[in-house]
Amino acid sequence: MNPSVQSTPLNGWHRQHNAHMAVFAGYEMPLWYPAGAVTEHLSVITHAGIFDTAHMASVLITGPDAFHLLQYAFSRDLNRWNGKPGNPMPTGRCVYGVFLNHAGEVIDDTVIYRFAEDCFMAVVNAGIGQVIFSHLCACRSRLDVDIRDLTNTIGKMDIQGPLSANILMRVLKDPESRLKKMMYFGFKGSIEPFFCHGEPVKLINGIPVVLSRTGYTGEFGFELFVRSEDLLPAWEMIHQAGLEFQVQPCGLAARDSLRTGAVLPLSHQDIGSWPFIRNPWLMALPFQPGESGFTKHFIGEAVLLAEKDADYTCPFAGFDPRKIETEKAVVSDPEGNRIGRVLSCTTDMAISRHNDRIVSTASPDKPEGFRPKGLCCGFVKVNRPLPEGGIVHLDDGRRTIRVRIEKNIRPDRTARCMMEKMISR
């Protein structure tokens, strides 16, 4: 292996389990295990899957002015939790948003965790910890704040899928009280010496974890943060406990197809060095009601408000599993006019079209004997607004596929399901 390629603490485990490995963002990561990406994708929708996400980076922001720095550098209004003025983000909650530059372009997307009044963690993409660290240092001016890049010191894994809570019931100390009332985008626990707030959450072997009801698949599940040296024993324990629930280790291919079907962007691919506007993720911006302006001042706001020529990013789904190569593909309208390019294109193998709607293998009202054939799906970036239901053609020089602009792709996702309902499954 190239010495500049990094690995996570689970690298040896992946190899022992014959994962097909590839380098992603500077880390050697599993693409899929011998079960294959289709099985992995379906497991997360019907049972549960575990993902090595230790390649992702965390940045710790602490001090009296930590809140003010994030209000300026991060896209969400942390003073308006749930949109209500004078209602700051509570501790034990986290929020999705983006770090923009002064041109309104995405440096990275992130989930910000609030551990205490003056203690926040930004979880960013692989290899971006240093970038965000430097960016925040450049923005801090005279603010009284301490910024630390925790890259490779925090271990992280995700467990995703409807049976995730049932599996965690087997490995958590005092599981009922820990999982009870855990809301979507809520978290519990602490890891000394990085965050020492709140009640500890521990695995039955004593490993301290931060347990977060979040994820990148659109399905019910959790992200677990541990000390880097605790990641392998935590992973092995959860894998072992999950076997009776048919838990499946999952690679990057399943992660990519699950997140696309859930209409979640991949940073540096679906969002990136163009203005963050006219896309499906505008909930990450602090719009005033009516979208006339913003509720706070933040980096990039002026460009976004003035922007008149930006492209439109739209989700799409095809009519069968056939995909195209994104790098070469152009988007055309039905009259043959080139209108843009393809950002992501993958296949969600859990869905099919049936009577003019998309049905998932998880849909309660799926037709009898339903067997999903898969639909290609992804995002296009085009020079005009496209209505839901509009048809465009994607051509990569080898083939042309016809796709439909969608608002939602994979229906009946479980991410927001009530915890009580999921534990009793």
């Binding site: 097909h20 990406a37 291919a253 599993p321 056939r322 296949t347």
Partner: protein, 134 residues
């Protein structure tokens, strides 16, 4: 990925450098992709096949095989007319992974010029060829 020694390479069929196979003992002759090809592609999720009754020359594209990873074209091992296609593959494309020489065959062709079969590789030659590209 399978090691070359792990590959299933039947000896009664001929192989191409693009990893198709043709069974010269059947009539019409069956065509598919090799165990090596399906292993390289990963899970196959969609197959496009030609229409029966159409003819193609040696080396012409006759179909595409779509996997989780990529899209690959398949090429005529020899020129001929398509007599039958494996319609089971439209519902169960994974048959090409599970059974590349039996249930996962792609089409049956009537060969135009049997002399063209002499340009193909037998099992031993194909194995040597695979060792060379690994």
């Amino acid at each position: 990925m399978k090691e070359i020694s792990e590959l299933n390479l039947p000896k009664n069929i001929l192989y191409t450098k693009d990893h198709e196979w043709i069974d010269t003992t059947s009539d019409p002759m069956r065509v598919g992709i090799s165990d090596y090809a399906q292993d390289q592609l990963g899970e196959i999720v969609f197959v496009e096949l030609p229409e029966a009754g159409t003819s193609r020359n040696r080396g012409d594209q006759f179909g595409t095989v779509e996997s989780v990873k990529a899209v690959s074209e398949t090429f005529m091992p020899v020129g001929g007319e398509v007599i039958n296609i494996n319609t089971d593959l439209s519902d169960r494309p994974e048959l090409m992974n599970e059974s590349p020489y039996e249930k996962g065959w792609m089409m049956e062709i009537r060969v135009t010029d049997p002399e063209e079969l002499k340009t193909l590789m037998d099992r031993d030659a194909y194995r040597k060829f695979l060792e060379g590209i690994r």
